[in-house]
Symmetry: C2
Subunit: 463 residues, 2 copies
């Protein structure tokens, strides 16, 4: 019988065969990239724009997984150009070379372009590329916009990654299947650049897993040993940016993603398996299946539904998470108990889901007043609750404090949410959307869709 180390090597080798683009793929992506760069540089000359294009990202480093070639091209402008000019000239230049394109916006506007490559026997293949204008600054730390660091990252990795590409591919595929690949707000996982740094630091996928399985909070990785980044004890993982020692490349990694990697590292090392590299392929949950689960669990599912604000996910998701927390706190402040909660965007709708352990309560509740020994506050309290003509309230002394029995404002979660959602901190766009109206649905009232089916499959799935 093979020992586990051999088994691990065998599996990694098999995975690599499947996820590594073949030479022809790489050649064709490189050809398309080069041709776009040539077009941009040519067009810049024509238009009298001082700018040149470079290839960055995974396609520039051969660290892209088969079938997922994201061509990233940065158009470098002089650092003394104004932001307005950068935007205007950059976007005009990018549009002029594209066969078809849309303008997008992350921290900066950029062009998502489509190119048609007709090389292969006349059959047209479509390639997509992001064309991003940026400032060509002297050092990464002198950046004028967040994207200005990317060329430095690219240069750092390109110089060192040769020979380690397969290890990066393994790590990316592993994280993808765990649902923790990508630094976007929806996921809060590990960015591609971070994966590359981790491999450069630990030399191999297997060695990274061995280390990750023993990571502790505040784990610090500093490839160049020059890190000045302190953080405030809130980052579970700190990976000093080799091109900007005061920055944590892993700042976006959530506690969940950090723990998920640790957990999966241990499991994989104990029992290596191809399953860690195969995306979960699951059917969406059906409404009948959902209703069976509701019955079996005995909990109450309450969903707040509203029109999804027309914003990019990195803007929308933090607001949805903020709304989730704020509404959860309001529910619990009112005496109910939330078991779990989640958020979801499907089509043009956004959803806040609350699974409740306690969703209905008696009419009465205690209102706890000041300590009896506090003369002034006691007088105020008794004056307010007893002397007024609001109806006789029953007064108690409990644990040295006055306690008065009052009526609960809301005896069930649905009426609470229908009436008080707007009093929560929802975030600007979510607040604007719910201002236009929202629905509150429970259990069988929840309108199912394929998208919600996938969401619920995931919600009930666990790790």
């Amino acid at each position: 019988m093979m020992n586990e180390n051999e088994e691990l090597k065998r599996i990694c080798k098999e995975v690599i065969e499947q996820i590594r683009p073949d030479e022809e793929d790489r050649r064709r992506v490189k050809a398309v990239t080069d041709s776009i760069i040539a077009k941009i540089n040519e067009k810049a000359l024509e238009m009298g724009i001082e700018a040149h294009a470079i290839s960055v990202g995974s396609t520039a480093r051969n660290t892209w997984v088969r079938g997922e070639a994201d061509i990233d091209i940065f158009i470098m402008f002089p650092a003394d150009l104004s932001e307005v000019d950068l935007k205007e000239k950059g976007l005009a230049l990018a549009k002029s070379v594209s066969d078809r394109c849309v303008e997008r916006y992350a921290s900066h506007p950029y062009i998502h372009a489509y190119f048609y490559d007709a090389e292969r026997g006349g059959r047209r293949t479509e390639y997509e590329a992001d064309l991003v204008p940026c400032f060509s600054v002297k050092e990464a730390s002198l950046l004028k916009s967040a994207v200005d660091r990317t060329p430095f990252h690219n240069e750092y990795v390109v110089k060192r990654i040769y020979g380690f590409e397969d290890e990066v591919l393994l790590l990316k595929q592993f994280m993808k299947c765990l649902g923790i690949y990508g630094s976007e707000q929806r996921r809060k996982g590990f960015a591609g650049y971070l994966c590359e740094l981790l491999i450069l630091h630990y030399s191999s996928f297997a060695e990274l897993l061995r280390n990750a399985s023993r990571w502790q909070y505040g784990e610090r990785i500093d490839l160049e040993g020059q890190g000045t980044y302190k953080g405030e004890g809130k980052d579970p993982l700190i990976v000093i940016d080799p091109v900007d020692p005061n920055r944590n490349v892993a700042a976006a990694v959530s506690e969940y993603s950090f723990c998920r990697l640790i957990d999966a590292s241990r499991d994989f090392l104990v029992q290596p398996s191809m399953n860690f590299f195969l995306p979960r392929k699951e059917e969406p949950m059906s409404e009948a299946e959902f209703m069976n689960l509701v019955k079996e669990r005995g909990t109450e599912f309450v969903m707040v539904v509203f029109e999804a604000p027309d914003e990019i996910e990195d803007v929308l998701f933090p607001q949805l998470r903020k709304a989730e927390t704020s509404v959860k706190n309001m529910i619990e402040r009112n005496g109910f108990e939330v078991y779990r909660s989640d958020v979801c965007v499907e089509g043009d709708k956004a959803f806040l889901l609350f699974e409740l352990l306690v969703w209905s309560l008696p009419r009465i509740k205690k209102h706890v007043g000041p300590p009896v020994t506090s003369e002034y506050h006691s007088e105020q309290f008794k004056g307010k609750y007893i002397t007024t003509k609001l109806g006789k309230k029953t007064l108690f002394i409990e644990n040295g404090r006055y306690v008065v029995e009052v009526e609960r404002n809301y005896t069930d979660v649905v009426s609470l949410l229908k009436n008080e959602l707007k009093s929560c901190s929802l975030g600007k766009h979510v607040a604007e959307s719910t201002d236009k109206g929202y629905g509150v649905f429970r259990n069988e009232e929840i309108k199912f869709s394929e998208g919600l089916g996938y969401f619920f499959r995931d919600y009930f799935g666990g790790i």
Copy 2:
């Protein structure tokens, strides 16, 4: 219009007229007391026992409220006598002088005796007296048993109380109506001796109230200025025993009694009224009235009923309170929520009452495991909950910890109590009694009685 101070004086005067025994009452109680003492001393001589009797307590100090003459006679034995001899000789002597008697036990055994006084025109009047054997020690601090202090207390008060008797009567009656008179465990209020010391310290009932209305936790009163008692910050009120400076006379005063006096002091000073001296006369609550309240409140009442252990209240009540707390904690540990709780003894039954806000819960619950970063404990946890064949459990990561979804042992409070009451710390006698059997009843199942009617009237009454 009279000012409030005059109104207060007028009310106190009126109360005094009603609660002060008249001269004839006092003379007759004194005569009975003297005759008992004479009999005891005579009998001691006859029996060759070295002992003598003294009158102590409120009847010895003229601080008894009309109609409530408790004759307390202490029989003093030499301090070098053995405890066995004290008990044997003391009880024999006490029994020999009584017309009828029963043996009782507090911290020490004593005789509760009945005497028939035939003075008034041949009509027999029955007097009751406690005859308590004790050691005649040199100083209160050298006591051999708790009762040995009493003669010192008596001597201290007798020497100083003349002229303040009426103020003591007012205070005792005031506290009685508040339900905080008496240091017994059921009540945890102010003992008669403590009332006398408070009056000696503040000189008058009104002055005591003025001070009490501003009392803070740890309020310290030291009449002789020699207190060495420290306490541990847990006594709300410290009144140094003038005859034993290392003892707190107010040690039995609960936080509730302390706060209740503060609250009533303020109310009475703002609006003096005879009502403060009139015992609440209320009808017991009817079962129909109770069921209406249950419906109106929306809470669930669950009662545990068992045979009241045959023990004195000072032994029984601390056990019932201990059981109440322990059961309440168990209920809340299981995820339910107690709104209020109380205990009660009626006839030969003892009752633990729990009013619940949450008494029924979904089948599932979270079982929170170790932090993911704790490798050893994570391995143990996952081994236990995942690898075993106990059925697949859903595993999550929440806030950096493993969480597994398990089935709740009890989904309602009644089945929890029916099955798990015995796992609580109930106290020896309560445990023995519930071992013989107990019932758990909810709402309309609770068997009403007049006694329970009074209990519920009080429970719902507030202060």
